[in-house]
């Protein structure tokens, strides 16, 4: 055998060995807890929900799944459990489409929870890219197929996190590693599942959620230079198509699961912004909600809640970070309302809350904002 051939074999063997070592490290530490709940090493979690949820679905015990967008991201699982008497798993995804949400929910429902609590915005229903083209969603890991496992085990990023988690489990290194773990360098920086995507304890809630911020956001989005995007959201047919494919498809396929779907309390400014800059969009959104409500109340396994016209919340702009995102205090109110069955849509009058909202939007005067 020539020296070149020997070198080639040496190179290939060394490559295989290093790859096997990285895969073994990822398998042993299993940062996402894909194969087993953490035992050998301390469990660590990441705020990257699209990735983290694939592991949470497998490693956690739950009878209720909580889904939504950024409006549901800061809920604390232990609050949900305490107020609703369930064992919940929060799977909310920032900026998600209905396609992504339903894909994740379907994976969670494979473990047979009894209930889904689902925060729904109309804008999640759009022609989102196919889930396999979604670069942020490790779809094969949710599917638990060979490609997903291979991608996970052969991931350099995971190997780095694994090494970090391993180092953190060594008592003498733990304080130093914990101090260096800040989310900037290492994704798995959270030590408790309840803490995922929570606002930090030192977070300035009052300084972030207040009328000044909400009004500034309103001024920003209604500025003629920027308000054009509000008019983009007018494709009623597209929304209905995505709604039927994703939400209705999932609900119909799981008749034994109870779906508590709620429409979150946006600030009144969200609707007023549409009213003043793009009435066509507002009409389209109203029309979609009429369809949405009528369709959902027909399902025996759905309870629909509409919090959009709860005036004491939506008109108090101190509750908001911008025109839609509400404060953690409102998270608690929402859980209370769900527990008490308040603001539940009556199947006999599915658009009653919507009609009330329309009247509020019609009556609201922007001039009040300056006072």
């Amino acid at each position: 055998m020539s020296a070149s051939a020997r070198n080639l074999i040496r190179f290939l063997c060394a490559s295989l060995f290093i790859m096997a070592a990285a895969a073994a490290l990822n398998f042993t530490v299993d940062p996402l807890q894909i194969f087993r709940p953490a035992r050998l090493f301390a469990a660590m979690y990441s705020n990257d929900s699209r990735m983290q949820d694939a592991g949470l679905i497998q490693s956690q015990r739950y009878d209720t799944v909580f889904m939504g967008t950024s409006l549901a991201i800061h809920f604390r699982q232990s609050d949900i459990d305490r107020l609703l008497g369930v064992k919940s798993l929060k799977l909310a995804l920032n900026g998600s489409s209905s396609r992504e949400q339903v894909f994740v929910l379907a994976a969670a429902l494979a473990r047979h929870p009894k209930r889904v609590i689902w925060e729904v915005d109309d804008w999640i229903f759009h022609d989102a890219a196919d889930i396999d083209s979604d670069v942020y969603m490790p779809a094969d890991l949710y599917r638990r197929n060979a490609r997903g496992f291979a991608g996970y085990l052969l991931s350099g990023n995971m190997a780095r996190e694994s090494a970090w988690i391993m180092a953190r489990s060594i008592p003498s290194l733990e304080p130093v590693v914990a101090r260096l773990t800040n989310g900037l360098m290492f994704k798995f920086s959270i030590s408790g599942v309840d803490e995922i995507n929570l606002l930090r304890p030192d977070f300035d809630v009052a300084g972030t959620y207040n009328a000044k911020q909400a009004i500034a956001s309103f001024r920003h989005i209604t500025d003629p230079a920027r308000s054009k995007y509000l008019a983009d959201d007018t494709d009623y047919d597209m929304k209905v198509r995505a709604f039927e494919r994703d939400a209705v498809g999932l609900i119909a396929a799981n008749p034994d699961v109870a779906f508590d779907i709620y429409l979150p309390p946006y600030s009144i400014l969200q609707w007023v912004a549409l009213r003043d800059t793009s009435p066509v969009t507002l009409r389209s959104v109203y029309d979609f909600y009429v369809y949405f409500c009528r369709r959902l109340v027909a399902f025996p396994n759905v309870r629909l809640f509409d919090f959009r016209s709860v005036e004491e919340v939506t008109h108090n702009l101190d509750n908001y970070l911008d025109v839609v995102h509400h404060s953690p205090a409102i998270d608690m109110k929402i859980l209370d309302w769900l527990a008490e069955g308040k603001h539940r849509v009556d199947p006999a009058a599915p658009t009653a809350y919507l009609d009330r909202l329309k009247a509020q939007v019609e009556a609201y005067r922007v001039e009040n904002l300056s006072r």
């Binding site: 020539s2 070149s4 070198n7 040496r10 190179f11 290939l12 060394a14 790859m19 991608g151």
Partner: protein, 478 residues
């Protein structure tokens, strides 16, 4: 199919290599046909709707080329055939690449309501230019008669098809014709794997790693001074490691087949002036533009004024080649201006005293790098307006964030700069000499060879471990 994907590395490449060498034992032609078919399969994995266009382009140019090398054709008809061939190529490129841009500009000026939503076939700019060079050389009488399979492979050869390097027929077809390349050569396979591994690491470890920082300048939020610089520098290094990584991978793959591809990068950010930069960045495009545009326009043969005009035309068209958008035109124009200034400085600028030569060189390198970064901002931005916003923020130190995150990001960027400025490039590490068809000569004599093998194996594996779900090369869209 992407080079940085498991199916390519673990299935496609080994299968094509095995088939190529297995067929090479039987005949000299069969491996060429096999490689051409494999290249079409490679292209059709993600661009199946454009395979016919690619085949049509190959057939069209091959026939026009045959006419051009025919000795029976006289001068005037030959020129007409050349004009027909080049016009045909440019027309197809124009329709697929520039029709939308043209319609949008017409709309902006005359509100015509014209709409042209045409998908861009991946690699069209590369295979069109490759074939225009072939036609022009055929017209100049510099082309021998090539067999169709060799010509088809020259155009479709999968290591270069999507994003170059832009190949030259005189360089490639003799290699495809050679019987030697059809026998497996462990040395070339090893060197190919190492070069491929370095390229893969550049892409998945470096370019993809810095990519999130790019949005600091080019994201939805107007950046501060420091974030604009971090984002602009991040893009500067992302583009370099992405494209030079792709080129390394192409060279490495090709080397496993015993074929030497031309170099495309030579540490461009080490340049001490813009002329030097264009000799080091996307070298095969620069050579193409020089040989088939700048020199035919007259080059520097008609006085300094026309030389500057020719430079501007060449760079404007070079900019437009990258994409149908005003940002690319302005980027090309800016580099045209840079080149004119550089040439004028060489001709009319003051001479530097020898004792200041080193300091002047360092200053020139820094200035060149900054000029390139400014131009990349225009190249990367979605529109000229957003480019101006980023550039204005880069020039406005009154608004600075520089928190803990920005400090860490700056350190991160500096590590990239250190690699780009001070590390040896791939061809220096591997002793790759395209002209003399040699590579890794020092390997056999080197005492620390095993260490080198293990380190490069680690780099290769880190490249594989860095593969993310789907990460296209930036130059795919050109």
């Amino acid at each position: 199919m992407l080079f940085n994907s498991y199916p390519f590395i673990f299935v496609f490449l080994p299968v094509v290599l095995l088939g190529y060498f297995a067929l090479g034992r039987r005949s000299n032609l069969a491996p060429v046909i096999w490689l051409a078919l494999a290249s079409l399969a490679f292209y059709s994995f993600s661009n199946w709707q454009f395979v016919l266009l690619l085949l049509g382009s190959v057939a069209f140019n091959y026939l026009v080329g045959l006419l051009l090398i025919s000795r029976r054709l006289r001068a005037v008809p030959r020129f007409s055939v050349l004009t027909f061939g080049v016009t045909g190529d440019l027309l197809v490129l124009g329709i697929f690449k520039y029709a939308g841009f043209f319609a949008a500009n017409l709309n902006a000026m005359f509100a015509t309501g014209l709409v042209a939503n045409i998908l861009l076939p991946v690699g069209i700019s590369f295979y069109t230019f490759t074939q225009i060079a072939f036609l022009v050389d055929a017209y100049r009488g510099k082309v021998a008669h090539y067999a169709l399979p060799h010509y088809a492979l020259f155009v479709t050869y999968f290591p270069h098809l999507i994003a170059g390097p832009i190949l030259h027929h005189r360089d490639m077809i003799p290699q495809f014709e050679s019987a030697e390349s059809k026998r497996p050569n462990p040395h070339l396979i090893l060197c190919g794997l190492i070069i491929f591994g370095i390229g893969l690491f550049k892409k998945t470890g470096l370019a993809d790693g810095v990519q999130p920082l790019v949005s600091l300048a080019f994201g939805p939020v107007t950046p501060s001074f420091d974030r604009a610089w971090i984002g602009a520098l991040a893009y500067t290094f992302q583009l370099y490691f992405d494209f030079s990584g792709y080129s390394d991978m192409a060279i490495g793959i090709s080397l496993m087949f015993g074929i030497f591809l031309p170099l495309n990068f030579n540490s461009p950010y080490k340049s001490c002036n813009i002329i030097d930069f264009w000799r080091r960045w996307h070298m095969t495009l620069s050579q193409f533009l020089r040989d088939y545009l700048y020199i035919p326009l007259g080059g520097n043969r008609h006085g300094p004024l026309l030389r500057y005009v020719n430079l501007m035309i060449t760079m404007l068209l070079g900019g437009l080649w990258h994409g149908a958008a005003w940002t690319f035109v302005v980027w090309g124009a800016l580099h045209g201006v840079y080149l004119c200034v550089n040439h004028a400085w060489i001709n009319y600028g003051p001479a530097v005293a020898p004792r200041f030569a080193r300091a002047a060189n360092i200053a020139a390198s820094i200035l060149t790098f900054l000029a390139v970064v400014v131009a990349w901002v225009i190249f990367r931005a979605d529109s000229l307006t957003s480019a101006l916003v980023v550039l204005s923020k880069m020039a406005d130190p009154s608004h600075v964030v520089f928190g803990r995150g920005e400090v860490l990001q700056s350190v991160f960027i500096m590590s990239y700069a250190a690699i780009a400025w001070f590390a040896p490039n791939t061809q220096a590490i591997m002793g790759y000499d395209h002209k003399n068809r040699t590579v890794g000569e020092q390997l056999s004599a080197w005492q620390r060879r095993p260490v080198f093998i293990y380190v490069t194996a680690a780099v290769f594996v880190f490249g594989i471990l860095g593969i993310q779900q789907h990460s296209e090369f930036i130059y795919f869209r050109f």
